[in-house]
Structure formats: structure tokens, C-alpha cells
């Protein structure tokens, strides 16, 4: 299997000329992308590193809530390069109206991240518009708009326990992992907000992809912890206690992600390629660093990490039987790994065993998800080789058509780079059994069944494989008459293929290219697309609710704002239940 790896890659670092990058044919399979887990390069991880390293100062300037916890909160954020305001409105919401779908129009909390400080006039403007979310309008001073709903399972329980002077049961918290969950975080210029280019160039604190959106979710977590303490204290001031800091760290923010995220991966192929290329570079650097053998300290770190992931997976509660089975199988294979590390540790060191051999073993013997968990753990071992890649996650997304390219060359290019698309038999009914469309309800992307659901004539152009096939076939027909012709002349005759050719020529220059899947197959699993993007966000505890949407947890295990000025290990991945009092700073707040 190693012989397939692309050792001709131009990736380089330090004095290493070439790295063993995995080939696109392996990495860009949808089931593998859907098995990715968060890594050191995930956006939550990099944001937390930045906040802690730069010791961002976050203080509430307005905390105007009534005894039930409804009202307004404003936090001022002093980051390295600028000042920002996080403005939050807490509303009463009838539980009957609590809905995580994008089509909802009421929420428990609505919030906005703004540039600079917010004055009284702007606050009133935000109070009018932010609670409306998509039905409102904001302006370019706003970077992110978001909302959240409280957890029906934990919020009241935790408040009640604290009000009575008790800490909540960790096992109850472990089943959910959060007090509030966010259902959307809009940025990049939506609803009148600041463009991504403005954020990237004028607000350097958030110049990495989705950094402002992730920060908004982090602040929701911060508020949710303060809010819970506050409501408990209001309810029974004579007995109430604050949440234990270790429990606070174990609370994340819930997230529900549906199909809306899926088209993003198809419509931003260069960006996705960039993210994957950086992650693969990180893995290649880790594997390469182990070429000459691994040390006992590193082996011990790897063993501890393995045990942690086993515990983490064992603590996930999901009603999805497939996910449960998968978690169990991955745990079993990781236990095999852990046992091998214990039993063979001395031999591994003495025989100069390399990570490459372990990766090869995993690829041959273990499930794809186990392989990707292990890859994440390998990346974790080498922060000094990996972390600098966090600055490489952005890319110019322009696609350029090369009009002078001969059709003969373009045909060869498609045969080489899109062989996976040409291998799909679109004459098979199941191969076109689905279609993607936008609903009139908030333009929500939906997946329809061909010849059953309405709207096929308005389908979104997400079937890249089919588009390539159609383009290829037309080129072949055209070339029978004009074999020497170029792309410019072909497009004069077939103008509707200019988009396809732009994409093909552009992505052919990239390292990993397009996702290799027929996304209109009857059995397509969009949840893999969601999981791929969510892994780059840095979420954990995937809880699929169907093949179309997934619940997960953000920032669970991350440092608290009050931890920013303390020593930081950056090891909050794969969160596990805390043992109260196990850390030096585990006192109650």
C-alpha cells in the first residue's frame, strides 16, 4: 500500500525534500472524509491556541438579565489586534417552539459578534434585528450572527442541582455534553454582515477560516456557563453554588448540522482541497518524523492518547445504532493497538519500528474510522511540526479556464484526474436516484428522490461526477470533427460547459482535487460531507440523527476564559469525563 503513496510531492519542510503524502484516490473517498476527526489544525483548536497564547481579555460590560435569566448581555473582547463586542439576547421560548432546524424562527438565545465597542444606538439596532436572525438585516460592523437553544435534558437539571447546593452528576452531563446548542452561525457577509475579505484583511484576530464563527460559539459556551450559575443563584440565593471548574470545562456547546453545510464542500473545492492538503501534510510530517524510530516518551504519549480515545468513544451516547456499532468496533481496534503498545513497547523502540509501519498495518487490518482516529493521534504527537500549518488554511478560490488548452490535452486531463467520475455508470437508475435542491423555506438545501419528489428541474449543480461525464462525452463528439481544436473554440459551440471546464482545469492543478463520490446516487450519505467539514471545525461526539443531519459538541474540554492566563497543554481533544479535584485549579468559580 505504501507504494501507492505520492512520494513525488513537492511538499517540503525543514531539510526534508519530499513527504509521503497519501494519494487523492485514497483520501478523497467520501467514507474516509466522513471518518475524519478533529486535529491540531481544526479551527476550534487553532482559535483556542491563539486566544490562550495572546491572552485575550474578555469581560462582560452589560449583564442585564432578569431573575429567570432573560435580557441582554454584552461582552467586550480585547484581542491582540482589535476590540470586539459579543452581544447576546436571551428570550423566553415556549418549549413547543424550540426547533433546531434552519426553518425555525424563534430561539432561546440570539447573538452577534461585532467589530469595536457597541454604543447605545447600535445596541438598539441589534436588539431589533438580531433576534429575527434571517428575517432581520444587520450591517458590515457585524462579523457573525448566531442563535442557540437550551438543552431540555441538562439546563433545568443543572440549574436545579446548583440551586440546591449540589454539583450535577457527571454521568448525566456526559449524555449530552452541553447546556445550549447552536443551530447556525452565519458569517461571510450574509444578511449584510462584513465580507470574509474584510474580516480576513482588517480583523487579523479572525483571519483564519471560520475563526469568527468559532469564536461566537466559544462565547456562547462562556455565556451558558455564567448564565447557569446566574439563574441558579437567582432561584435559591441562600443555597446555590457555582459549577465546579472541571465540570465547566467538560461542558461544550451543542451543535446541530444539517444539509445546509453539504453544498459548501462542493462549491468551495479549492478551499476544501487546501484544508485536506494541510491535514495530510501534517500526517505526512508525523509519519516521516517517525522514520528513524520512536522514543519511549512518544510511545507512552501515544499509549495514553489511545486510552483516552477509547474512553471518549465509550462515553458517547447516541441513539444511532450504526454509530454505536462503529464506535464499538473502533474501540475494539484501538484496544488492540493499546495492548500492542503495552506488550511490545520495548521491542518497538529497540527495533526502530516506524509510524509508517503502523499506518500500513492499520490500513491493511482496521476500519477506515480507526485509521483516521489513529492518524489524528499521530498528528497530535508533533505540535512543533504541525502547528505552523494553521496559517495555510486559506486560499484564493478563483477558478480559471485555460482557453488555449487543446481538447486532446483536456481529454487526457479528465481521463487522468477524473477517472473516478468516468468510472460511474450514470445509465444505472440508482446512479441518478437523488437530486439536490433549494427549498423556498429559507432556501434550505434538501435532497430529493428522482421522479418522486418535485423540483428536479431546479436541481443544484452538485453532481460533479455527472457534470464531468457529460462534458467529456461532448468533447469526444466535438473532437471527431475538430480533433485539433482548443477549449476556446469548443466553448463557442458548447458554452454551457465553460463552468465544468473551469473547474476541471483548476482542480487538476490542486493536490487532492474534487471529492470522489457520485453525490446524486440514490444511496448517497450526505452525513459524510457534514462530518468532514465538522472535523475541520473541530467538533466531537458525533450523534447522527439520520443520514441527513448530525448533532455534535463544540469546545467540550476546552479551557475556560479564566484559564487563558494559566499554563496550557493544548490537549483537550477527545474530551472525557472529569474526575473532580484531579487538577490543581479545579476549585469552584
Amino acid at each position: 500500500m505504501r507504494s501507492e503513496h505520492n512520494t513525488a510531492s513537492k511538499q517540503s519542510y525543514g531539510n526534508r525534500a519530499a513527504l509521503p503524502m497519501r494519494p487523492a484516490s485514497q483520501v478523497m473517498q467520501l467514507d474516509r472524509l466522513g471518518s475524519f476527526h478533529q486535529s491540531r489544525l481544526s479551527f476550534m483548536r487553532t482559535l483556542v491556541r491563539r486566544m490562550v497564547q495572546e491572552n485575550w481579555q474578555i469581560k462582560s460590560t452589560i449583564f442585564d438579565l432578569d431573575t429567570e435569566g432573560y435580557g441582554t448581555a454584552v461582552y467586550e473582547v480585547q484581542a491582540k489586534y482589535g476590540t470586539y463586542s459579543y452581544v447576546l439576547f436571551s428570550h423566553y421560548l415556549d418549549p413547543e417552539n424550540r426547533n433546531d432546524r434552519v426553518i425555525a424562527n424563534q430561539w432561546d438565545l440570539t447573538m452577534a459578534l461585532c467589530e469595536g465597542t457597541v454604543g447605545a444606538e447600535q445596541l438598539e439596532f441589534l436588539r431589533t434585528n438580531v433576534p429575527k436572525q434571517e428575517a432581520g438585516r444587520v450591517d458590515s460592523r457585524v462579523l457573525v450572527l448566531s442563535r442557540g437553544n437550551r438543552s431540555g435534558r441538562t439546563f433545568e437539571y443543572v440549574v436545579d442541582e446548583l440551586a440546591h447546593g449540589r454539583q450535577p452528576d457527571i454521568d448525566v452531563i456526559a449524555e449530552v455534553g452541553y447546556l445550549y446548542r447552536t443551530t447556525a452561525a452565519y458569517g461571510s457577509g450574509k444578511l449584510g454582515m462584513a465580507d470574509w475579505e474584510k474580516v480576513r484583511t482588517k480583523h487579523r484576530d479572525f483571519n483564519r477560516p471560520f475563526a469568527a464563527e468559532m469564536f461566537t460559539c466559544f462565547m456562547l459556551r462562556h455565556f451558558s456557563l455564567q448564565h447557569t450559575d446566574y439563574v441558579a443563584a437567582q432561584r435559591k440565593p441562600e443555597t446555590a453554588v457555582s459549577l465546579h471548574n472541571d465540570i465547566k470545562r467538560y461542558f461544550g456547546i451543542g451543535n446541530s448540522t444539517g444539509l445546509g453545510m453539504a453544498p459548501f464542500l462542493i462549491n468551495h473545492p479549492l478551499l476544501i482541497n487546501q484544508w485536506i492538503e494541510q491535514r495530510e501534510t501534517a500526517l505526512a510530517r508525523a509519519v516521516d518524523a517517525g522514520t528513524d524510530g520512536v522514543t519511549s516518551a512518544m510511545l507512552e504519549q501515544f499509549r495514553v492518547g489511545t486510552a483516552r480515545v477509547i474512553q471518549h468513544l465509550g462515553e458517547i451516547v447516541t441513539g444511532d445504532s450504526q454509530q454505536n456499532i462503529s464506535n464499538g468496533l473502533v474501540r475494539g481496534e484501538l484496544q488492540e493497538l493499546g495492548q500492542w503498545l503495552v506488550n511490545e513497547g520495548p521491542n518497538i523502540i529497540a527495533n526502530h519500528y516506524s509510524w509508517a509501519e503502523l499506518v500500513l498495518y492499520a490500513e491493511t487490518n482496521w476500519r477506515v474510522e480507526t485509521q483516521e482516529v489513529m492518524n489524528t493521534m499521530l498528528i497530535e504527537l508533533y505540535p512543533e511540526l504541525v502547528d505552523e500549518l494553521e496559517e495555510q488554511m486559506s486560499v484564493d478560490e478563483d477558478q480559471h479556464l485555460v482557453p488555449q488548452m487543446s481538447l486532446a490535452d483536456l481529454k487526457l486531463l479528465i481521463e487522468d484526474k477524473y477517472d473516478w467520475a468516468l468510472a460511474i455508470d450514470f445509465a444505472e437508475p440508482a446512479a441518478q436516484g437523488s437530486f439536490w435542491y433549494r427549498s423556498e423555506e429559507k432556501m434550505e438545501p434538501r435532497l430529493g428522490q428522482t421522479h418522486i419528489d418535485m423540483g428536479m428541474e431546479k436541481q443544484m449543480p452538485l453532481a460533479i461526477g455527472r457534470m464531468v461525464r457529460e462534458c467529456f462525452d461532448e468533447i469526444c463528439v466535438y473532437m471527431t470533427e475538430f480533433p485539433q481544436q482548443d477549449v476556446a473554440h469548443f466553448i463557442l459551440q458548447q458554452p454551457n460547459f465553460s463552468g465544468a471546464i473551469s473547474r476541471i482545469q483548476t482542480m487538476a492543478q490542486s493536490h487532492y482535487g474534487d471529492i470522489r463520490e457520485n453525490l446524486v446516487h440514490a444511496d448517497v450519505l450526505p452525513i459524510h460531507l457534514l462530518r468532514c467539514k465538522l472535523s475541520f471545525f473541530g467538533v466531537s461526539k458525533f450523534d447522527p440523527r439520520s443520514r441527513l443531519w448530525v448533532r455534535n459538541t463544540m469546545f467540550q474540554g476546552a479551557p475556560l476564559v479564566s484559564d487563558f492566563d494559566k499554563p496550557f497543554l493544548d490537549d483537550w481533544q477527545f474530551p472525557i469525563k472529569p474526575v473532580l479535584g484531579a487538577t490543581p485549579d479545579s476549585s469552584t468559580a
Partner: protein
């Protein structure tokens, strides 16, 4: 009202899709409008003027009438540069790569000012381009060198006004040689207006920072076009979102 660039881009793409544009066309068309607006060339006004015609245009593209080595003649079929502009510039660039330089004329086309974004895009791929057209009594010349981001734009007096809906594109590897080619063919009158690169950058920065002003009636008109690509929501369709 003000909208962001990303928001306007997304709306324009869907609106053009609603008009029947294909993927490549609606991406290029949205880019042309946005670029023109943000650099001071009234892209939104041109769009507003063009929409009644785009509704009836059947998405006609340019048709190749004649191609003799480095020269070509295209018929825009009365359509907008939003549909024929990309084809024209790409043909000019392809011929220039093959023959060293090229001259392509697109007849019978509209909204020619929108071509400037396509020139800037082609320049990013190391082509030099000059575009020329006549609007009543003034002629417009736009030139851009390989790798440059923003073009030189000038308006000139035309002595003999002609009712001409053509657009002339010269392309080559360097700006000096195709400028010479242009000057050999066309004698410009007195320059009446020049628009500097700095002025374009200033406008762009302001709109990026504060948003793009758009007439509400145009915004709602675009919304109605966007609605054409949306599908009615039913209980069954909600199942396709995970319900």
C-alpha cells in the same frame, strides 16, 4: 439598502440561474456585475438596464462567424456581454497564445462596459488585453497588462459617431505590442475622461468596508428571479432535510 459583496454575489448567481444561465455563465456574470460596481463602473445600474432584455434573451451566446488565424469575428446575437463576453475574451487569449497576438470583434452585443472584469480576469492568467468600443459620440479604451489587477480606462471623443454595437478585443503577451497594434488600426480622439487605478481601489475599499449600496427595487427584483430556482416546500420535501 446596503448588502455585502458575498451576499450580492450569492444572490446574483441564483438570479442569473433563474434567468436560465448555466453554471459557468452565472459565475462569470455575477463576477462582472460585482467587479464593475465595486470599481466604479455602475455594474448594478447596467444590470437594472439589462434585466428586461435578459428576461427575453433565451441565453444566446456569441456565434463564431469567421476565424482566420489571429483574427475572428463573432456575432453577439443581440445578447448581453454577460453571456458573450467570456467567450470573446477567451477566444482572443487562445488565439494570442497560438499566433502571438489576436484581434477579435464581437458584433451586435450589449452592456459592453461589463467586459472590464473579464479583461482583468484574463490578465491574471498572464495575458495583455485592450478593449475598444464606441458609445454614441465617445469611444472607450480599456487596457490591462499581464498580471495587473486593475485596468487603465479612458473615454475619447469620436469624430464620426456611428450606431455601432460592436466590441473589439486585442490580446497578446505584452501590453506595448498590442497597444501598437491598436494604434495602427484606431486613431483615438481627444481624451475626455480617465479613471485612475487609485480611484478604483478607493471605491473598492469603501464598499468592502461599508457594504454595497443597492436600490431596494432592484434587490427585490433579484429576489423574484432567485425564487425561480427554489422549490415549493411540502411535508414530503421536509423529509429531504432530515425531518
Amino acid at each position: 439598502m446596503k448588502v455585502s459583496r458575498n451576499e450580492l454575489t450569492a444572490t446574483l448567481k441564483k438570479a442569473f440561474e433563474g434567468l436560465g444561465f448555466s453554471v459557468g455563465d452565472y459565475q462569470d456574470a455575477a463576477a462582472m456585475i460585482i467587479w464593475s460596481q465595486m470599481h466604479g463602473f455602475d455594474g448594478l445600474q447596467q444590470l437594472q438596464d439589462a434585466l428586461p432584455f435578459l428576461n427575453d434573451c433565451l441565453c444566446l451566446h456569441a456565434k463564431l462567424i469567421h476565424n482566420d488565424d489571429h483574427q475572428a469575428l463573432l456575432d453577439g446575437q443581440g445578447s448581453s456581454v454577460l453571456l458573450s463576453g467570456s467567450q470573446t475574451v477567451r477566444l482572443a487569449c487562445a488565439l494570442a497564445r497560438q499566433y502571438g497576438s489576436s484581434r477579435v470583434r464581437l458584433d451586435n452585443c450589449h452592456n459592453r462596459r461589463l467586459i472590464i472584469q473579464r479583461l482583468a480576469s484574463a490578465a491574471a492568467s498572464h495575458s495583455a488585453l485592450v478593449a475598444y468600443w464606441v458609445e454614441g459620440t465617445t469611444a472607450i479604451k480599456v487596457s490591462i497588462g499581464p498580471g495587473a489587477k486593475r485596468p487603465d480606462y479612458g473615454r475619447y471623443v469620436v469624430q464620426d459617431a456611428v450606431a455601432d454595437q460592436s466590441l473589439l478585443i486585442f490580446a497578446g503577451a505584452d501590453l506595448a505590442s498590442i497597444d501598437q497594434q491598436f494604434n495602427d488600426e484606431i486613431a483615438l480622439g481627444i481624451q475626455t475622461e480617465a479613471y485612475s487605478w487609485d480611484a478604483m481601489v478607493d471605491r473598492y475599499d469603501i464598499m468592502l468596508d461599508e457594504g454595497i449600496e443597492i436600490d431596494e427595487s432592484l434587490w427585490y427584483e433579484l429576489d423574484t428571479l432567485v425564487a425561480r430556482v427554489l422549490v415549493e416546500s411540502t411535508d414530503s420535501s421536509r423529509a429531504g432535510a432530515g425531518d
